[in-house]
């Protein structure tokens, strides 16, 4: 990779047919070539026209887009530097909150977790609530990207990048909490299986140990998946860079991508493999986080419903968070609108409704089993949630998670963006409240009445929580500002579909390349790495 990016005049070997063209044109030409030579039969998706017998749905990409306009629009968000002022105000706010986070964590490390409201019996409070909440939010990205890729849902293409970035940042926030909530965070590495002189390993029976593996694996795979997906776009950014510095910077991240057929081939293989890896992780991470509670002996936690119900809740909150972010971005950044259409939003709203119903089922089942099971402590916890001192929290979560979502049965609700946005915000609030209720109401009144107590967050609890919101917003802003927030390569594929020739460009290029160089082994061909 001696050459991070091709100069317009510099010719590298291979793909000579398109090499002389400007990048955008090269792609268009490649796709055109692919269209010519395509042997792929029926369209992968007929979403644009809807299934037979149904009225045509809104398109996944608004008409009038060309390959060039896709690149232009998306890279323009970065290069034009003309984001609306309100986004900068938003950035100022979130950046301030990030500073609050740093300050709060600094004070936390200086004094100890006693600055929070935790005590005995409620030894877990905001930190674990936030951890579970953020992990849940971190589910949407991978679900949208990996699961929908594997199940070939092309509507994912315009929102996957955004959702994946959100996932990463949410997981980064989530990953903060298991460390900072420790009594001795500087000893956090004890939880890792590293070779040490005492031959001591983590205690593998503890779900917290499983958490370490689950969350770090998830974070790693999500990062790789996201990064792999963005590599072709970094190349586009590099190629379209107005200054040499930017071209060099994006070139580093583009890893020498030049869009050769071999690149595409390996890219697609790796992407699919990672998607395959990530798909079970969507289920595993939150299942294992749920096991933190399930494995415990505590009433209200010791329940096998938790893993599936947590996964449903995670997807629920994740999709809500995607919409919470996407709706304002779409409103504020006009160039996003052609790619994030009403139809995407509609799909996501429906997913929220579906997962919300699953979560509702979880609540009902939990309460029913507590009653049916006959364990007085278990049944007490359910009653105490509903009518105890934390009843306002409980009814907030019931309202947000099981009542409000029923508005999404109506098309108006799904299409009226301000309304939908309020719903998604409420869902986020409801899911945070749900985690809070699970963590706190169980602990505050468990088995021995003599040890019952109360919990309430302190200023520092709220500061850390608000700080992570700020960090999340800051990272999202930086992402929107510096990374192509929509997948250009995949949207160009949608353009191809929308133009009536639904051929995935990468696939087409691959086919084309294989035709032209049938003898070249993909494993020895070094041209693109020269």
């Amino acid at each position: 990779m001696s050459m991070p990016y091709p100069t317009p005049t510099g010719a590298s070997s291979g793909d000579e047919a398109t090499e002389a063209l400007a990048p955008a044109e090269r792609l268009e030409a490649a796709v055109a070539l692919a269209q010519r030579q395509s042997r792929l039969a029926p369209p992968v998706s007929s979403e644009a026209t809807g299934p037979p017998g149904q009225p045509p749905e809104a398109p996944l990409i608004l008409p009038g887009q060309t390959f060039a306009s896709v690149s232009e629009s998306v890279s323009g968000i970065v290069y034009d530097r003309k984001l609306p002022r309100v986004l900068y105000l938003f950035a100022a706010l979130t950046f301030s909150l990030t500073m609050v986070l740093l300050g709060a964590i600094g004070w936390l490390f200086a004094k100890g977790v006693g600055i929070w409201g935790v005590g005995m019996p409620v030894a877990w409070g905001f930190a674990i609530t936030n951890f579970v909440w953020w992990i849940g939010i971190g589910h949407a990205g991978t679900l949208i990207s990996a699961v929908l890729l594997v199940t070939r849902q092309p509507w994912r293409n315009s929102i996957n990048r955004f959702a994946e970035a959100m996932t990463l940042f949410a997981v980064a926030n989530a990953g903060l909490f298991p460390i900072i909530h420790l009594g001795r965070p500087w000893m956090a590495y004890y939880i890792l299986p590293y070779p040490n002189s005492m031959g001591l390993w983590p205690q593998f029976r503890s779900p917290l140990t499983w958490d370490v593996f689950a969350v770090s694996t998830y974070a790693l795979v999500s990062l790789l998946f996201w990064y792999l997906g963005v590599v072709p776009d970094f190349a586009t950014m590099r190629d379209r860079a107005p200054t040499r510095r930017q071209a060099r910077l994006y070139g580093v991240f583009a890893l020498g991508w030049r869009g050769s057929a071999r690149h595409w081939h390996r890219y697609r293989t790796a992407y699919l493999l990672l998607a395959g890896l990530a798909t079970p992780l969507v289920v595993s991470v939150h299942s294992i986080v749920a096991l933190d509670f399930t494995v415990a002996i505590e009433p209200g936690w010791h329940s096998t419903i938790f893993p599936p119900y947590f996964v449903a809740g995670a997807i629920f909150s994740g999709f809500a968070m995607v919409l919470t972010l996407l709706i304002p971005v779409r409103a504020l950044v006009p160039s996003v609108r052609p790619f994030v259409t009403q139809r995407h939003i509609d799909f996501m709203a429906k997913t929220i409704l579906a997962t919300g119903l699953l979560v509702t089922y979880g609540y009902v089942s939990e309460a029913f089993m507590a009653w049916y099971g006959g364990d007085p402590a278990e049944w007490f916890v359910i009653k105490n949630r509903a009518f105890g001192p934390y009843a306002p929290m409980y009814w907030t979560l019931i309202f947000c998670n099981t009542v409000v979502i029923h508005t999404l049965w109506f098309r108006w609700s799904r299409r009226t963006l301000w309304f939908l946005w309020i719903v998604t915000v409420l869902v986020n609030v409801g899911m945070w409240t749900e985690r809070y209720v699970i963590v706190v109401t169980t602990l505050h009144r468990d088995f021995l009445p003599s040890s019952w107590g109360m919990f309430s967050g302190t200023f520092w609890d709220w500061a850390v929580f608000a700080g992570t919101l700020g960090l999340f917003g800051t990272l999202m802003f930086l992402f929107v500002r510096f990374v192509p927030m929509l997948s250009m390569s995949e949207n160009r594929g949608l353009v191809a579909e929308a133009s009536g020739r639904p051929v995935p460009p990468q696939q087409a290029r691959l086919e084309a390349a294989q035709e032209r160089a049938p003898t070249a082994s993909p494993y020895t061909h070094e041209e693109t790495l020269s």
Partner: protein
């Protein structure tokens, strides 16, 4: 020269080695005698030696040791008898409000760090009170006074001696005119003798006695004698506002005696059927520890006690008097009287110091009529070494204050008292103190009185100086020092009185020895080593009391006691000493401040205890249901208490079992100068107190101020909620079905796991809630043994107290007249411990002897173990609670065998694993197994009622095995499959069949119903 492990005097500073306070203050050598070669290494010599060694151990002066000197220097030549790391035990006595409680001081290389009860001492019998346990913290209290003060400036003991010389010269002329001496209760024969000698020397001097929490009303009412009980001989005990299990000087012994008649065992069905218990009746205005232990507790206003006593007297045929009683009172009195009659001489009727004086004479008649006098109760002269003040016991301080106000007191010597704080509201002692030309205060703190005095002399801790003291039954014991005074300026009362008496400057040791001159050297050494002076050798009861009044006491109550029948307002003020800080003297002690009061569980402050019905009427609570729930989180409404023209504001605390119309406020709070710990905590009840009615009386006016103040408690919920952590039955049910706690429960829950195999030891514990009286001694003992930090009021409010052992207290039955049960809960050392599975770093693990052990330096503080602990016995260092490096004296106090925990680390009861280790080392060295009873946990050792038993479950002869095999043994929350190592016995009570109703426990919850058949 004694081979002391120090360098020469001139070398020391260069090497940064610092030998003791003398170096820092620049004057003097070691304490007298410390450097003298012992002619024989006897106890006395060793004590001097160990005192010197302690002085070497980086003892702090006021300025603390220089940083460089913090080196560990091994002994060059090891002193005889000292094996590093092997503690030595010395018999001495803890003196509380004048009365001795024999203790053994555990000394580690010269540092006493724990007190245990002295089995040979009658007031201890091997156990110790919470106060005795906490006194070790008094020794190392960083707030202790360490300098002589003269008019607010630092002075020296030499200056005191010089001033004393001048005073002696002046008094020699005047016969001590203008000299007044104010003491608390003095039972020390030596100090009493010294003061008597002083009074003889200066005949015009006057002596006053002021003991705020024990003014002697009972003694006055009984004509100068005090009752001494034999609770173990009583089958029926009736208590009229008496708290012999906590508040009497003999409480520890009474606890042991009480438990001996309450313990039931059922090793065989025959034994179960034959089990007997004493039956206890109690009538009191506010729940006390003894009232909680009673089978029938009646909440009555203080003014009803006389009527009850008279009814009892009539019932047992000890004089007739017709009184009108309410139905509940009459039923209680009828049942009690019937039982008393049946028991005859095996019965005991007792009233406490706080009871109305008129009660005592009636009770004495009852005891005499029953034949109990001489059996269960002996009326004997009190062990005081000084004559009781003439006249009204409460008036001594008032009389002194009048003298002072009149300018007739030129020199006032105050020995260990704090009247500027504890004077009643009508005695302006603090104001007139300034008029005394020379006021001399001896005390361990620069307290309210020291602050206003001309001279203040820091007092030694009893572990630092020679003295002697008598116990509740007049048994004398020698108080011997375990270490040299931490502060060289500190002197004992003996030293100070000696300085005022003569120029001889006789050391306290010689004074004590001279007092006990009739003991030969062997007897003296035995008295020292056993902690008691043998009965035959201790003939003189008390020098001040020539003729004990054995005749019938004056029947008339002191004129001061208020008329009882008519009260202008519905409320009665009820003052009483606090169960932790007593009369305020312990307010500087963080352990006691943070010790949950037995019944209320309040810490760090007091509150106006008010009956539920009154609280409802005043609108303080919405319903009785709120009493179940968290007091901890509720800001209590502040009441204004106005009584005889004085008023204070105090937060209201609704106390189930409080007599309606009675508002109880404990003494000892609202200190103005009690160090960082005690200053400004709570409300001073002295501001309501009148010298003519020290315990209050009718006429209290209450006003709701609208303000709130948080009352911090450690137990947020008051009921068992049908879960029956304490499983209760009556004695009748126990006879029929001793296995009542486990009815309907599977004997053993299945498990997927292979059982652990224990080839060696297998530790286990058994706790008997029937005999647990909730006195909290175990809690303090655990803190002292295990270096538990004090966290402070705010942290307790955040539910972060660090007690490894807590005593749960549940109310059973209606809020107006509930039964009370106590249950000490510490780590249960589960066989299948839920905490162990969830720790991600294996910081809490099962060991080969069945202990669930914490590895502190492996713990990263996820707190998952605590969440998963169904008993919630784990404690977490949310902040840096142990103050490292801030107070050198507290570092000296720490048990070297127990790790001091840092912040972020979980901790919990270890079954005193260090004691197991110590016993194991001994046993291994001797090539044998640890015998039963060789490992005694700190809580077990101090328990007055022996409710805790610990031992090896693999030893078939161990006591704990027998207890685990009892049919009424059960594991707390065993239904969870945790298989706890600690087992509880079912709680058995012995209600009278004649009484149903309030005394029969009933709870709203079905489980309590089922385990407590009516």
């Amino acid at each position: 020269m004694l081979p002391l492990p120090i360098l020469g005097q001139d070398e020391a500073p260069e090497h940064g080695l610092w030998r003791g306070p003398a170096d820092l203050s620049g004057g003097g050598e070691f304490e007298a005698g410390a450097l003298e070669a012992p002619s024989l290494v006897g106890r006395r010599d060793f004590l001097k030696l160990s005192g010197a060694v302690a002085a070497l151990a980086a003892v702090s002066g006021c300025i603390g040791p220089p940083e460089r000197s913090r080196r560990l220097v091994p002994y060059v030549d090891q002193p005889g008898g000292v094996v590093p790391s092997v503690p030595l035990f010395f018999a001495t006595a803890y003196v509380h409000a004048g009365y001795a409680e024999g203790v053994l001081a555990e000394s580690h290389e010269g540092r006493p760090m724990k007190l245990e009860g002295n089995p040979q001492h009658p007031a201890s019998l091997g156990a110790a009170s919470a106060w005795a346990q906490a006194s070790i913290l008094d020794l190392y209290d960083p707030a202790r006074s360490c300098d002589v003060r003269f008019r607010g400036k630092t002075a020296t003991w030499q200056a005191v001696l010089e001033a004393a010389r001048q005073m002696r010269a002046a008094w020699a002329q005047t016969g001590g005119r203008g000299l007044a001496i104010l003491t608390g209760t003095v039972t020390s024969p030596t100090l009493g003798g010294q003061i008597e000698a002083l009074l003889t020397q200066y005949p015009n001097a006057r002596l006053y006695r002021d003991e705020p929490a024990a003014p002697g009303l009972r003694r006055a009412a009984l004509g100068g004698v005090e009752p001494v009980y034999r609770v173990d001989r009583a089958s029926v005990v009736v208590l009229l506002d008496a708290d012999p299990l906590l508040m009497e000087p003999g409480a520890v012994a009474y606890g042991r005696q009480f438990a001996s008649r309450r313990r039931v065992r059922a090793s065989s069905p025959a034994e179960a059927r034959a089990a007997t218990m004493s039956r206890v009746y109690a009538a009191e205005p506010s729940p006390s520890v003894s009232g909680a232990a009673a089978d029938h507790r009646l909440a009555v206003a203080p003014e009803r006690l006389v009527a009850l006593a008279k009814a009892l007297a009539a019932g047992v045929g000890a004089g007739g008097a017709s009184v009108t009683l309410t139905d509940a009172e009459a039923a209680w009195a009828r049942a009690a009287a019937a039982d008393l009659r049946a028991a005859g001489a095996a019965s005991l009727v007792a009233a406490g110091e706080t009871a109305p004086p008129a009660v005592h004479a009636v009770l004495r008649r009852i005891n005499a009529a029953l034949g109990a006098e001489g059996q269960t109760v002996t009326y004997a002269p009190p062990p005081d070494a000084l004559p009781s003040p003439a006249g009204d016991p409460g008036s001594a301080l008032a009389a002194l204050t009048r003298e002072m106000a009149a300018g007739r007191v030129e020199t006032l010597l105050m020995l260990g008292v704090n009247p500027a704080y504890s004077a009643p509201a009508d005695v302006p002692f603090a104001e007139v103190l300034a008029r005394v030309e020379t006021s001399i205060h001896l005390g361990r703190h620069v307290d309210e009185t020291a602050w206003r005095s001309v001279w203040h002399v820091p007092e030694t801790h009893p572990l630092e100086a020679w003295s002697d003291a008598r116990a509740y039954d007049s048994t004398a014991g020698i108080v011997q020092p375990i270490l040299a005074p931490l502060y060289s300026a500190a002197h004992s009362a003996l030293d100070l009185v000696e300085a005022l008496r003569s120029s001889a400057d006789t050391p306290g040791q010689d004074l004590v020895r001279a007092q006990w001159a009739r003991l030969d050297d062997a007897a003296w050494l035995r008295a020292l080593s056993e902690g008691v002076v043998g009965g035959a050798l201790d003939e003189a009861p008390a020098p001040g009391l020539s003729a004990p009044a054995t005749s019938a006491p004056a029947t008339s109550a002191p004129a001061t006691s208020a008329p009882i029948e008519s009260s202008p307002t519905p409320f009665t003020l009820d003052l009483r000493p606090d169960a932790a800080v007593y009369d305020g003297r312990h307010a500087t002690n963080g352990w006691l401040q943070e010790l949950p009061r037995p019944l209320t569980k309040i810490v760090w402050g007091n509150a106006a205890l008010i009956a539920p019905a009154d609280a409802l009427r005043l609108g303080l609570i919405e319903s009785l249901e709120t009493l179940r729930w968290a007091h901890q989180t509720v800001d209590a409404p502040v009441l204004r208490l106005t009584w005889r023209g004085q008023s204070v504001e105090a937060p209201a605390f609704v106390q189930p079992g409080q007599a309606p119309g009675v508002v109880t406020l404990t003494l000892g709070y609202g200190r103005e100068r009690a160090g960082d710990v005690g200053t400004g905590v709570g409300v001073s009840a002295y501001r309501l107190r009148r010298s003519d009615a020290p315990w209050g009386g009718p006429g209290l006016e209450l006003a709701v101020t609208g303000k709130t103040h948080p009352v911090v408690t450690t137990q947020g919920h008051q009921r068992m909620e049908g879960r029956a952590p304490v499983r209760r039955a009556t004695l009748d049910r126990f006879h029929a079905d001793p296995a009542f706690p486990t009815v309907g429960e599977p004997a053993d829950l299945p498990s997927l796991f292979e059982p652990y195999v224990y080839d060696g030891y297998k530790w286990g514990m058994s706790i008997d809630p029937t005999t647990c009286i909730g006195c909290n001694a175990c809690v303090v003992a655990c803190e002292a043994e295990n270096n538990s930090p004090v966290v402070g009021r705010d942290q307790v409010r955040r539910e972060r107290e660090m007690h490894w052992l807590r005593v749960d207290r549940y109310w059973v039955g209606p809020a107006e007249a509930p039964a009370v049960v106590f249950q000490p809960v510490m780590c249960q050392h589960c066989e299948h411990a839920p905490c162990e599975v969830v720790c991600p770093v294996a910081a809490t693990v099962h060991d080969g002897e069945g202990l669930n052990v914490m590895v502190y330096n492996r713990c990263i503080g996820t707190r998952y173990c605590s969440n998963n602990c169904p008993y919630k016995v784990r404690r977490f260092n949310f902040l840096q609670y142990t103050d490292w490096g801030k107070s050198p004296t507290l570092e000296l106090m720490r048990n070297p065998e127990v790790t001091v925990r840092t912040r972020g680390v979980m901790e919990k009861c270890t079954y005193c694993v260090q004691r197991i280790a110590r016993a194991r080392i001994t046993a291994q060295a001797e090539g044998r197994r640890i015998a039963d009873g060789e490992v005694v946990t700190a809580c077990q050792a101090t328990c007055p009622t022996q409710a805790i038993t610990f031992g090896d479950l693999n030893d078939p002869k161990a006591g704990v095995v027998a207890l685990h095999a009892q049919p009424h043994a059960y594991g707390l929350l065993a239904e969870l499959g945790t298989r706890p190592r600690t087992q509880y016995l079912g709680h058995v009570s012995n209600p009278s069949p004649a009484l149903a109703g309030p005394a029969t426990p009933r709870d709203a919850t079905p489980t309590d119903e089922t385990v407590t058949p009516a």
